[in-house]
């Protein structure tokens, strides 16, 4: 369904907008990278059985992850591709019970905290855990919560 793919002018417009957001963080996407990400988006949507209209989730993901210490220019496109796939995967896994913003916030929280920039780690998180983090906005009281240094110290005793 080509109609859901952005037109050429919309692609350029989106690219300009997202690059403007990320320029202060030393990140930018080339036109080819944008085309590739859009193609991957369509494939992921097909794979996850979802339909999306408008600009897609990419601009929101870029906005949420551009200030992450784990995102750099060399892996920028690959990271966005992974995050895009994770986003649609967990949207289904959470039965559409969480909003786009809640899920992006949860992914960002996990990526920057326990996953330390490892998207592969995020993909192994059970859906119940992802749902809880998305709804509560914290990893506290989930299996993702790491023991504090004090707890680790006493655990050795």
């Amino acid at each position: 369904m080509d109609g859901l793919i952005l037109s050429e002018s919309e692609k350029k417009q989106t690219l300009e907008v997202v690059n403007k957001i990320t320029e202060n963080f030393g990140l930018s996407l080339s036109e080819e990278a944008m085309v590739s990400l859009q193609r991957e988006r369509m494939e992921t949507l097909k794979k996850t059985g979802r339909v999306e209209v408008g600009n897609g989730i990419l601009p929101k993901l870029i906005h949420a992850f551009c200030d992450s210490p784990y995102v750099n220019q060399s892996s920028y496109e690959e990271t966005l591709s992974d995050l895009q796939e994770l986003f649609y995967f967990y949207k289904n896994e959470c039965n559409d019970l969480v909003s786009d913003d809640e899920l992006i916030e949860a992914l960002s929280l996990i990526y920057n905290d326990v996953a330390r920039g490892d998207t592969g780690f995020i993909g192994d998180i059970p859906r119940e855990t992802m749902y809880t983090v998305a709804v509560t906005g914290t990893i506290e009281n989930t299996e993702l919560e790491m023991p504090s240094l004090d707890e680790e110290f006493y655990a050795d005793d």
Partner: protein, 268 residues
Amino acid sequence: MQMIDNKLVIGEKQNLQKLLPLLEKQIARYTCGESSSVRSEVAEALLQSVVYTLNNHIPEENLEEEFKKGQKTLERKIHYAKTLLQKVIMNLPPVQNVSMMDTLKSIGESFKKYDYRLFAQDFPADIDYQLSVPIDESIMGIDYVVSYLSQLSIENQFICNYKKEDLEPVLNNYCPDYEGLLINLFDPIFTRTLSMTLIEKQGLQISKDDIEKIRLMLNNMSRTEVENCLIKASKMLLEPKPFILKYCRDLSVRICKLRDNGGLEGML
């Protein structure tokens, strides 16, 4: 995504392209603006609703305006369906059927659940009571309910021409548990009345002589001649609605089969 293309009634990509702005708005309404994507089955249902609201016609321009007009039309149809339901409830036949009552109750309750703004093609009622001639399955949403109640109203009004004590023997003969089983009450009553009309008699009571007269009358007729006879007789009883004409055609097939196998007496 392709799957939407394949299942869409209107099919063509060009039409789909035209509907995308509306689909985008409907997705935003469905998700309350909290999600830019939905599962493909939800998108498909939303798109079907858009097409249904536009009465299967994609206008060249003013799509949004036409869509709003379509929604206003649906609102009028809902109002009309409620009036029809009221009419049916006020004119129930003197004999009862559990599935008819359950169906009317379910339709009444479903008006509250009917989401004509997002899923106009889906009226969520349990419509179990069978009509003498089923409503065309391609009719959807509130249109189905209007067609169903219109026909039910005509069928019940016809039954109301008779007293309970006249109806009971015919119905008992047709199905002893006519109150509890999923049967149509109009069918046996109308068949009997039509048969009596053929020999220019009134009422539901039929004698052996009457049966013999009917048998002799229909004996050498072709199926089409039987159908024409039934249609002529039906016009003396009811307005010639399309479902009555279909009923007469179906009945003529039944009559001819039974006549040729010597079972006409049993039917009458």
